[in-house]
């Protein structure tokens, strides 16, 4: 060891420190990851347990696996099955996502590519809506929907989004569009395309990655949305899964735990599947624009 130079020893010391640092990082990440994800893993395991076993141990694997929770939970205590509630969720989500994509694209196109009177103030309003707590506008909105006769229908859940009401998405698309070069659009204009054709054939394809993020986030948020349906929907046959789950807690929780857990697994499954299939768009979506959640 004595014939090692000072520099060699420095380098070895540094390499050792770096190794220790890497090890500590991995250990910390694994521990935090485990603590964070174990509840979800446990949820899946517990949904196959018998009711008496759920609070008997912290393990993942059920001793006597049973699909009872799924079979009985699916039936619910209402005249409808969970299939109906999933269908309702789908009926809420699909028009909402399409409306959001179209209206937010139009608004972003206007902000990023046109000059018009009051543009600064109108763009300011996007930021203002972004920061405005929904709680302030919720009561008059409810009264408005009541006067329109829209209560207990999906319209209050669809229409505000179809009019670009989710300012976050407008903001995100504007940011994305501003970063794209305009020469393709100019070339199209020279070739005689009008602005709508340019939007459909040139801009929308270039916007596609950001638009996919918008649709995915809107899907996720709508799937998780509880307060909107809670306020606007009153008949059980229109309930989306979030409300149906709350209903089954109220009616069966005292004893039938595995039914609740099984239905919880089912209600988060669509969001999880979509997330894993398209996580790139989520991560890019937040990294570029910042997001709630």
């Amino acid at each position: 060891m004595t014939d090692l130079t000072f520099n060699d020893r420095q380098a070895m010391r540094r390499a050792r420190l770096s190794l220790i640092s890497t090890a500590i990082r991995y250990i910390l990440l694994c521990v935090v990851g485990f603590v964070m994800l174990y509840p979800l893993i446990w949820l899946v395991g517990a949904s196959f347990k018998t009711n008496s076993e759920i609070f008997a141990g912290a393990g993942f694997l059920p001793e006597n696996p049973t699909a009872d929770g799924y079979i009985k939970g699916w039936q619910t205590s209402t005249p409808y099955t969970f299939g109906r509630f999933f269908w309702n969720s789908f009926l809420i989500i699909l028009p909402k996502v399409i409306g959001t994509a179209i209206s937010c694209t139009l608004a972003a196109y206007a902000f990023a590519r046109f000059d018009f009177p009051l543009k600064k103030i109108l763009f300011g309003s996007v930021i203002a809506i972004l920061l405005l707590p929904n709680v302030v506008t919720r009561i008059p909105q409810y009264i408005l929907f009541r006067d329109l006769g829209w209560l207990d229908s999906f319209l209050p859940l669809w229409v505000p989004s179809a009019l670009a009401g989710d300012a976050f998405f407008v903001f995100m698309l504007v940011q994305f569009l501003r970063s794209l070069p305009t020469d393709m659009e100019e070339a199209a204009r020279v070739d005689g395309a009008n602005s709508l054709q340019t939007l459909i054939y040139i801009v929308v394809p270039m916007l596609a990655p950001a638009l996919i993020s918008v649709c995915l986030f809107q899907f996720m948020w709508t799937m998780n949305d509880f307060l909107g349906p809670l306020i606007y929907l009153s008949s059980v046959d229109k309930y989306p899964v979030s409300l149906a789950l709350k209903l089954s807690i109220d009616t069966t929780e005292a004893f039938e735990w595995n039914r609740i857990l099984a239905m919880s697994v089912l209600t988060i499954a669509p969001a999880l599947i979509v997330f894993f299939a398209a996580q790139r768009y989520f991560i890019e979506g937040i990294s570029s624009g910042g997001i709630k959640g």
């Binding site: 109108l122 709680v135 008059p140 789950l245 209600t267 999880l272 989520f282």
Partner: protein, 293 residues
């Protein structure tokens, strides 16, 4: 040219209609309602400042709820951001599987707002639940997570902090964009890891810290699903956040005027805190290329 200007407004029409009908008019409407007594059956009756007077002088539920909300926000936001930054800093290193960890930590943010997760929280923190079983294995005595008024709010806070993923992804993106030459320069000057973090990394992160702070704060003030499902505001109103109180007043008792005045107090608090953050940001937020700081 004139044509172009009108065209821009044309594309913006859905947004403008939505802005007026679902945001601007309800915004003014709720301010008006907050000075009235309105039960949806008869016309709103102007009562001047009576609602606000009742709130601050006679309504002990409101005072309790306000305190709980402020405590919740001041507990949740710093904890969540600190944790998100901590994990992002660990991840920002030449690690294998960095994408895997990032995805794993982000999953709770995708699901966190859902009813299913709130349900899961009830099971995990039940007296015989997973959390207490985990405590028992390391030799600690069980905690009364929801039954004890001093713990219940903290248990709700944990649910929020668990969803640190989206803030973390934003921090990580910002960390990765920091110019590596700055770190090399600091190392040559003999600065250690800790000093480098506090004097180089942290100042360069202040814009995203600021962004995350505002977004998380606005959201935390509107927390509804967690306490509504998990504790229903109890025990002894220790988790009765203002959005729950507003919901009860507006949609259970149909006191639309009174509920609006609570919403406006909440809005005023959020606005004041946001303005304080913006104003103070001149002192602590550092924008690269900015000579001011």
């Amino acid at each position: 040219m004139k044509m172009q200007r009108l065209l821009g407004l044309g594309y913006l029409t859905p947004y403008i209609v939505g802005l007026l009908v679902f945001t601007a008019i309800p915004f003014i409407g709720s301010l008006y309602l907050s000075f009235t007594s309105y039960d949806l059956m008869s016309e709103p009756r102007w009562t001047g400042l009576a609602n606000y007077e009742r709130l601050f002088t006679r309504d002990r539920t409101f005072i309790k709820s306000l305190n709980v909300t402020l405590l919740y926000v001041f507990l949740t936001v710093p904890l969540k951001l600190a944790f998100a930054l901590f994990i992002a800093a660990i991840l920002n290193y030449k690690l294998a599987f960095i994408g895997l960890f990032r995805t794993a930590f982000y999953v709770p943010s995708i699901l966190g707002g859902s009813i299913a997760i709130a349900v899961l929280w009830r099971y995990i923190f039940a007296t015989e639940g997973l959390a207490n079983m985990a405590l028992a294995t390391i030799g600690l005595s069980p905690v009364d997570w929801f039954g004890d008024p001093t713990n219940a709010l903290f248990t709700i806070t944990l649910l929020r902090c668990w969803q640190f993923g989206s803030a973390m992804v934003i921090f990580l993106a910002a960390l990765q964009s920091i110019d590596k030459s700055l770190y090399e320069a600091a190392a040559i000057d003999g600065a250690g890891k800790v000093r480098t973090f506090f004097f180089i990394t942290l100042p360069l992160l202040t814009p995203v810290i600021f962004f995350n702070l505002i977004m998380q704060m606005v959201q935390a003030f509107q927390e509804f699903n967690g306490p509504y499902i998990i504790t229903q505001g109890g025990p002894l109103k220790s988790t009765y956040l203002l959005p729950l109180y507003i919901y009860d007043e507006a949609f259970k008792k149909f006191n639309m005027g009174y509920a609006s005045s609570i919403a406006w107090v909440l809005f005023a608090i959020i606005t004041v805190l946001t303005l304080v953050a913006f104003w103070s940001s001149k002192k602590w937020v550092f924008y690269a290329g900015d000579k001011r700081s």
